[in-house]
Each structure stands twice: as C-alpha cells, then as structure tokens.
Symmetry: C2
C-alpha cells in the first residue's frame, strides 16, 4: 500500500457530493473544526432567522406571535422534522427542555410501563448525565428501583426479566463506539424490557430507523450534529403505541390537553405533546430549526458515507504518521461499530490538545487521557483530516505541548 498523501485528501474533496454544504456555515477561516460532536457550527442562515424572531416576532408582534407565528406549534413542528432524521413516524418526536430533563421523563415513563420490574440497565461508560439522571430518579422514587451500570461487553447478558428499561447511548461520547440498535432493541424486547436510546451523537450524523428497529423511547441533543446552537433545546421520542399509557411526572401546562382553558386539574394532551412541560425558549427553538432544516436538505446515507471515509482515513493517517509518539486508537477500527468521531489516547492528552487548539485545530479532551475528534460531514473537508493529523504530528515531534501554557486547566474541557 502506498502512503497516503495530501493529494489523496484533496482529490476526495474535489468529488465530494456534500462539498457545497460547507459554504452554508459561518466557519472562521483559521479554524479546522473537529468538535461538532460537542457544539455544532453556525449555519449562515441562523443569524437572520434569529434576528427576525427577535425583531419582528417578539418586538413587533409581541404576544400575538403565539398564534400569528406558530410559536405554540414549534415544539411539535421541529420535533417532527427531527423525527424524519431519526426514522420516527410523525407525532412521535418532540423538542423540549434539555436532554437530561427529557431522559428523566422517558425513564419515568418506562418504569410506569413495567411496574413489576426494578432495574434500569445501562453502560458504566455511558455519558455521565444519563447515569446521574437514572440514579437520581431511582433514589427519588424510593421504591427499590436501581440503576445497574455495567461494562459494555456485559450488557447483553444482563438483560433479564428484572430489567424495566435498557438505557444506552447509541454512540459512546468517549470512544465513538456504536451499538447495533436493531439487535439490542430486539434483545431488550425478548426479555420484556423497554429500549431507550440516547441519540446525542447519532442524530444528524448517520441514518437512524427508530420505527424499523421498534425502539420504544429515545432522547437526543440539538446542539451537536443538528447545529442548533449552544444549549439548544433537546428532543425526545416516544413510540406512538406507548403514548397516553403513562402519567407524565413533569405535568406542566404545555403538556395539558387544553392549556389555555386554565382548568384546575391536569389532563394530559393527546399524543407526544403530553411530554411538554413549561413554556419553551422560542429564540433558541428558532435557531435549532434552521440547523434541522439544513440537515433535511441532505441524504443521511451520503452523510454517513462521507463520515465513514473521513474517520477511517483519519485512523489510517494517524497510524501512518503518529506511530512513534505513543498515541493509541481508542475508537473501534471496524466502520460499522464506529460513529462519526475518532478518539486517540495519550498520557498527555490534555496539553497536546491545548497545543492543537492553539493552532486552530479544534477537537476536545475527555478525562483522563482522550483526544476526541468529531467529523461533521456537512462542513468538515477531507483536507481538514489531513491537516489535523499533520499538525498533531508536528506538535508531538516538536514537543511544543510541553510548554507550561498548554497545561493550565479550564472549567469546561
């Protein structure tokens, strides 16, 4: 095999079906952005849409906008658009709250739907907020529920008849490892458990078929691959057959059958709106919709195809160029087991990543030793893949990362 060269990456850029999409984002010229799995980039159309919501809808039309500009329907409208990206049917997806709050709602629903069962089964390396929320819910209920968090390889064996719900993140935040959604969902169902997927690192990154896999419940994030903006509202999914079988624990007025009748007692709305709680943040919702609309312009299979080539070439180039530097691959080598990110481990991951960021190649660090690189195919170029590895090599070879300035810790990593 001949060595990979800069020309190989340039050639792929020139024939990339998605290459026109990059121009739809307002990326700084001096940045190679490989952190869209933490915060997606800004679509150029967002600024104008947000300005319109602020200036015209809020400023000029004021309270009338709840009807005149459809604010009252935003959560369902954007929810259904996300539903198209994840293989949900209309009426199964809602934008609301944060991923954490939505997880609380969906787990609470699962425990109600499986009253005889006490276990929430999850992966010990799941994203921490998922574990925290499950732990908090179990403790709060005080009815003997338990979060059982096990290593990834022990999950399938552990799905037994005490398990109410299997809660997994489809693509692991730290390693990029991807579960076989259809297989695990079927496995959960075979034991009578419900299946809840966290799609934070999947929605907008690869094709999903929640309906086809028979998924019961899901949650996901608006600010990663959906490019909805910092802290964008999250989404939740509840299969139609499960709706209206449970009492929402967070029974707020936006989830009421008739919020503006101001009735004294709660009556859940029909369908997915029953998972709504309070008044949603309209400006942030408007920004999210722009990101989702942009994603709907492309074919998710094309996105996935580009992502697979980018991540596999990144891995190949790392192995070609970084062999002497103590960098190890922390993501699966097999494409089908890998989401849209590649993680490398190194004992000095923190200062190395800071040195890389200082050069404008933005990935992130995950404790204790992971350098994480996300590939958002809508705006990452193949030449970015090349450049990121070459810059990383230069940092490792020169030892520049040993300088003191790269060792200071920051609050958010």
């Amino acid at each position: 095999m001949t060595a990979l060269s800069r020309d190989d990456f340039a050639a792929l850029d020139s024939t990339d079906k998605l290459r026109g999409l990059r121009d739809r984002f307002a990326l700084p010229a001096d940045v190679i952005y490989l952190d869209g799995n933490s915060l997606g980039a800004l679509p150029k159309a967002t600024a104008a849409r947000v300005a319109e919501v602020v200036g015209q809808e809020w400023g000029r039309d004021l309270i009338r906008s709840w009807n005149a500009h459809g604010w009252a329907h935003l959560q369902q409208r954007i929810g259904d658009k996300i539903g198209r990206l994840i293989g949900a049917r209309p009426g199964e997806t809602l934008v609301a709250d944060s991923t954490s709050v939505n997880l609380f709602k969906m787990l609470a629903a699962a425990l109600q739907l499986r009253p005889g069962r006490r276990v929430i089964l999850s992966e010990s390396t799941n994203f921490p907020t998922d574990l925290y929320i499950a732990e908090g819910l179990a403790g709060f209920l005080g009815q003997g529920h338990e979060l059982r968090a096990l290593p990834q390889e022990a999950i399938e064996q552990a799905i037994d008849e005490g398990v109410a719900v299997v809660m997994l993140t489809h693509v692991n935040y730290r390693t990029g490892r991807m579960w076989d959604m259809a297989r695990i969902t079927a496995r959960a169902h075979a034991s009578g458990a419900l299946m809840l997927w966290d799609l934070a690192h999947s929605a907008g990154a690869l094709p999903l078929d929640l309906a086809g896999a028979g998924v019961d419940l899901a949650v996901g994030c608006g600010y990663k691959y959906l490019n909805g903006g910092p802290g964008a509202p999250a989404f939740l999914f509840m299969a139609e057959k499960l709706q209206n079988q449970v009492s929402p624990p967070l029974s707020g007025w936006f989830g009421h059958a008739s919020p503006f009748a101001f009735e004294q007692h709660y009556r859940p709305a029909a369908g997915i709106m029953q998972a709504a709680v309070g008044t949603p943040p309209v400006i942030s919702l408007a920004a999210l919709e722009v990101g989702v609309d942009l994603m709907l312009e492309v074919c998710m299979a094309d996105v996935r195809a580009k992502s697979v080539v980018q991540t596999s070439m990144f891995i190949a180039l790392v192995e070609q160029e970084l062999a002497p530097f103590g960098v190890a691959l922390a993501s699966p080598r097999e494409d089908a087991q890998r989401g849209s990110q590649v993680c490398l481990s190194h004992q000095s991951a923190w200062p190395i990543m800071q040195a890389l960021i200082a050069r404008g190649v933005i990935g992130d660090f995950r404790s204790p030793d992971i350098m994480r690189f996300g590939f958002a195919p809508l705006y990452v170029r193949y030449s970015d893949v090349w450049e990121a590895v070459i810059q990383l090599k230069d940092i490792l070879a020169s030892g520049v990362w040993r300088e003191e300035r790269f060792h200071a810790k920051s609050l958010v990593t």
Copy 2:
C-alpha cells in the same frame, strides 16, 4: 371630585421619573401594550446582544466560548442579578429550565425537607401549571402526598402540622390579587411548614425582600416583567440554609460538583448550582440577561410607585367611563393587595378583548370572562392608560365587538 381628563394623564407623563426608559424598548408605534405580564416587550439592546452571541460567540469562537465568554457561569451570573431584584442573597438564585420544571425541583426539595408531612397547600385559583406540577409530583411519588388546593380565603386557616409546604403565587395571574409575603411566610413557619412563592407576576414589577421575609423557596418567570423574551429561561430561589440538605431529583450533569470530570456517580455541586440540570439554552439566556440588566438600572420602589398610580387611575377611569356597560372590577381596589395588573370581568370578555386588540390596545383574555391589563412601568405611559379605557368605552358603546370576526377562538389566548 372632578372627572379625570386626558390632561391629567399627560401631566403625569411629563413628570414621570421613569419616562426615559420607554425609549429603551422597541415597541411598535401603533400599539398600546398592556400585556407585559404575559410577554414583556423587547429591549432595544437585545437584538445586538443576541446577534453577538450567535455571530461571534457561537459562530467564531465555537466551543471555546464555554470558557472564553463565560457560558458556564451564565446561569449563576444572571441568577444573582435577578436575586438583587427579589431581595435574595448572592448564591441563592439560579436561572434554569422553565418555571414548571423549577417548581418540580423546589417542591421535591420541600417534601424531602419535611419528610413526615404529606400536604402541599395551595390556592385553587393558582396558576394552573403550579397545581398540575404539584399534582403530578404527588402522584408520581406514590407515597401518600396530596395537593390541597383551597380558595384564597381558606389558606391561612388550613396551614397545619400536616402541611409540608405552602405554595402560592404572590400575585394571582387572573385577578392581580397580591399576598402579604412576610405575613404568610411567617404563618407557614409558625406551623413548621416551608414557604414556596411563585414570583411570575412579581419579579420586575415590585420590590421583593425574600431574605427579609425568610422565604424558603421560590420560582419565577423570565419572560414577563423581566423582558427576557418569549419562553425565556426561568429562575429558582433556594435559601442558603436549605442548600445541600436535599438530593436533587433531576440530577443532571450541570448540577454535578465537577461536570467535566465525567465521574460515574452523581455528586451535587455546592450551593445553588445543584439545582441546575442539563445544558442551558445560551442564546435565550443572553436575551434574558439584557432584560434583567435594564431592570437593574431602575429603582424597584419607583417602579412600584408608578405601577400603583397607573393601576389605581385605570380603575378610577374605568369606573368613571364604563359604568353603563356591565364591566366589573375583578382586581382588589386596595393598592397594597394589588400587583401590577387590573382585571375586568364581562360576559363577552373574549370578543371585546379581540376588538380592542384589533385597535392596537393589547391586553389579554383569561377564561371564562376576564379582560386582563398589565402595566409594566418601564414602558407603559400614563397616556396609554387613558387611551386604553377610552378605546374600550368606544368598543362597548358602539357594540362593534358583536361582529363575527371578533368571536373566532385562537389556540393561545
């Protein structure tokens, strides 16, 4: 007493200490906006600040903004600013989630703090989401908790030793009736109950002294008198002495002691941050901060003084002009018992309000028979008070509201 005339209102405008503030809002020229108690008006500075957050902080600085632009501290920073408006100490107020979700958290805390008690006591005419959330929480816990919702006049008598928490909205959404915060809080404490105030219609409308009154818990709204924008994030207050005595039921990563250590188990943050849950909506937070900053420029006593004159003159003018038309006052006549709104009842309140809105005088309708007028002293002029009543009189006298076009119902009222 001589009749009130247009000149009386014009004279008050000319000497109004707060008159310069109106120009800081982007109000349409053809609107008299008396619905700031539902959705506050747009501060002119908001558009530029939101554009900066979108374009520079998100678009240019991307993930780095969590540290570089202090996104990680926004919830506490804006919380403390609101704390200054409500008489809280630093570290007792947090911006987070929606009012409904915050109410769930604060009620859950109250029930944990009073483990032997089973009653959440509230007013049957409280804002419905407060009742719904309490009802949902009690049912969800399944431990014999109960929401006891009684008429306003029965509340004080009903505070007994079975009551864990008294949950009241300081200013009633439907009538504008205001509780004596210090008196009821003391009454709750005398029976060993905790006191939780919903400040949705109080924060930014009148001076509050939560610390002085010894209030335990509170929640409130960012999109009414704080002018934070549609669905702005809400706030919560927990007295310092209660913090770290409870386990948050919604135990998300933003409430963790060390969110970016990605620990497997939840450890609540010290202080008010433990009430944070998921990643907050940064764009909506930035808009809220502009509204709060503007409110901090003025003295709340001046705001209240103007509000009292406006609401009392509105009432006087209604009685002078509308006597023949079957309009009844549904708000307290005594200033000390009234918030910053006046409600009128009429059996045809809906079409009358629609006719009024069609003329650019915007109040709102509350089922079944209430016309609600909110007076936000930062931007409502005395002449608006005059004009609103005169337009209302003309609508009633002409019977124009009987036209079919004013009878169609809309989703949001």
